[in-house]
């Protein structure tokens, strides 16, 4: 039974690579290299954490939404994010890591979430801008991930993407409505776009020549496009929408390049990006503290549910 394990492993690896080659899905029951498993779990967990932490910047405005219709839209959206978090944690659980463990890693600072949520939401326009630019960037990122090699992740992405594009349209529509409103409202939209444009472009991660993990993730079919590639797609997609809205994107270098058939654009502030990634963004501490407090404040409730379930189960056994 212990004969030639290396040989077995080689065969398994060949099977795995063939699956990747065929663009088929790797399923939880399939053999996979340890590095692949770790990378997948890390990426899906980060994505899940981003959905959960992402509830905060928008949630910040639920109680202050300026119309009941917008309040309903926003509440529903934030609940959708909680739902996305749920599917994604489930996708992780298929790889044997529980939601509780992942939450502990998040609040212990051992796993990350999207850098964008470390920026504050300062006006109601930010709710629209997050929908338009942040969900827009997320879609650019996620549409290719529907074809990611890890089955549970890819399937979760299909559902998530559908809802995200709905959210993106709602965000755009809020901004469009505000742009047809008062001068103050138009100024509010422009100010919000000024603040979020660069952080949204940074969502795709560092430039390709500074992104060490990209190659391996692409080889494994976990990632489907490079960071810069996606960033370019985002810019090209957004420019005409900004024109339609009547807002200016805060980049003096932004212009159409006929030759490349794409927009040239300026360089994000990568120092700020590194600062934010390493925990010093305007809201990192606040977001984690908020999450930690919710988790700790809820511990007695989760414990009560566990005890009650055990007791009910025991009663049922006894009644048999």
């Amino acid at each position: 039974m212990t004969v030639a394990p290396e040989r077995d492993e080689q065969e398994l690896m060949a099977g795995f690579e063939a699956t990747i080659e065929r663009h088929d899905r790797i399923e939880p029951r399939d053999w996979m290299p340890e590095g692949y498993r770790r990378t997948v779990v890390r990426q899906v967990a980060q994505h899940a954490h981003s959905e959960i932490i992402g509830m905060q910047p928008e949630g910040n405005w639920i109680t202050r939404a300026p119309s009941l219709r917008r309040k309903a839209i926003l509440l529903a959206k934030v609940q959708d994010e909680a739902g996305h978090g749920l599917y994604l944690y489930s996708a992780c659980e298929t790889s044997g890591v529980s939601r509780d463990e992942l939450t502990e890693m998040l609040i212990g600072g051992r796993q990350k979430y999207s850098s964008i949520f470390n920026y504050p939401t300062l006006t109601y326009a930010d709710v629209g801008t997050i929908g338009w630019l942040v969900d827009g960037a997320a879609i650019c990122n996620q549409v290719p991930l529907c074809r990611t090699s890890y089955g549970p992740y890819g399937r979760a992405m299909i559902r998530v993407c559908k809802e995200e594009s709905f959210h993106q349209r709602q965000g755009y529509e809020l901004l469009a409505t505000m742009m047809r409103g008062t001068d103050e409202q138009r100024a509010m939209v422009q100010e919000s776009v000024d603040r979020f444009w660069w952080p949204a472009l940074m969502m795709f991660g560092p430039p390709d020549d500074d992104s060490p993990n990209t190659a391996q993730s692409m080889a494994w079919g976990i990632k489907r496009n490079t960071n810069d590639d996606l960033r370019q797609r985002m810019v090209d997609m957004t420019v005409p929408q900004a024109e339609a809205l009547g807002v200016t994107l805060p980049d003096p270098e932004l212009r159409w390049n006929e030759e490349r058939q794409a927009h040239d654009f300026g360089t994000p502030d990568w120092d700020e990006f590194k600062d934010v990634i390493s925990g010093n963004g305007p809201c990192n501490a606040q977001r984690l503290e908020h999450r930690r407090r919710a988790w700790e404040d809820g511990a007695w409730v989760r414990e009560a549910a566990t005890v009650f379930a055990r007791r009910t189960e025991a009663d049922r056994e006894a009644a048999r």
């Binding site: 405005w61 109680t63 009560a304």
Partner: protein
Amino acid sequence: AHDLATYCLMLADDALVMSHRLSEWCSRAPDLEDDIALGNIALDLLGQARLLLARAAAADPSVVPVLPEGSPVPPEDALAFFRGDGELLNVRLVEGDNGDFGRTIARLLVFSAWRLALLEHLTPSRDHVLAAVAVKGVKEMTYHRDYAARWFVTLARGTDESRRRVVEGLTAIWPLHGELFVTQDVERRVADAGVGVAPDTVADEVDALLDQVLSAGGVERPSVSALAGVRGRTGRHGLHTEALSRLLAEMQVVARAHPTGAW
């Protein structure tokens, strides 16, 4: 018509304020499932509030606050965002701080059992809009009540701490239980007209339901007195606790900063 509008505002304001409090749980609940559940309950109540505010405005446009000429703010928003706390007609039960999850569940249990009974009796209303709101609301409130009842029993029969907390929560909100069944003149009149429901007529069935849930949790009805009003005035008369004006300061701040804004 003014009676109908006033009655609609009472039902609307209960839902609006309760929805606001529940929405404060967003991203703070003990677990994701509860975050979603509380959010959905808040969303249901918000939906009920919108329909009822619109009905109030249609029944008697004079109840709608006047905004600057040319303001695109619809009546439901004028009513939600441009009335002061002295003009809101919700019962005082819904306006206090959430407290912990135990108190939130205790309040949701009492509120949803009460509102479910009211809406059930409202389904045959002669006002077709109210009847339709009630039919939709009954489905929603049934879910809310079951969610609250399930958690109430779980907490009451969970750990010592969870039992202590949910009992403390119930005791804290119980002084506002009596106010739910006091029937105002307006309510009596719309009930007599076959349009509304007099809350005193649902007291027995609500209390029977609550007793059932309490007893499933092994919890006694709190023996605390009702919260006094001021010269008999309480929530339904626009006489609230100190919590409501703070709640509205937050809820209305953006809308009021832009009285001619479009959202």
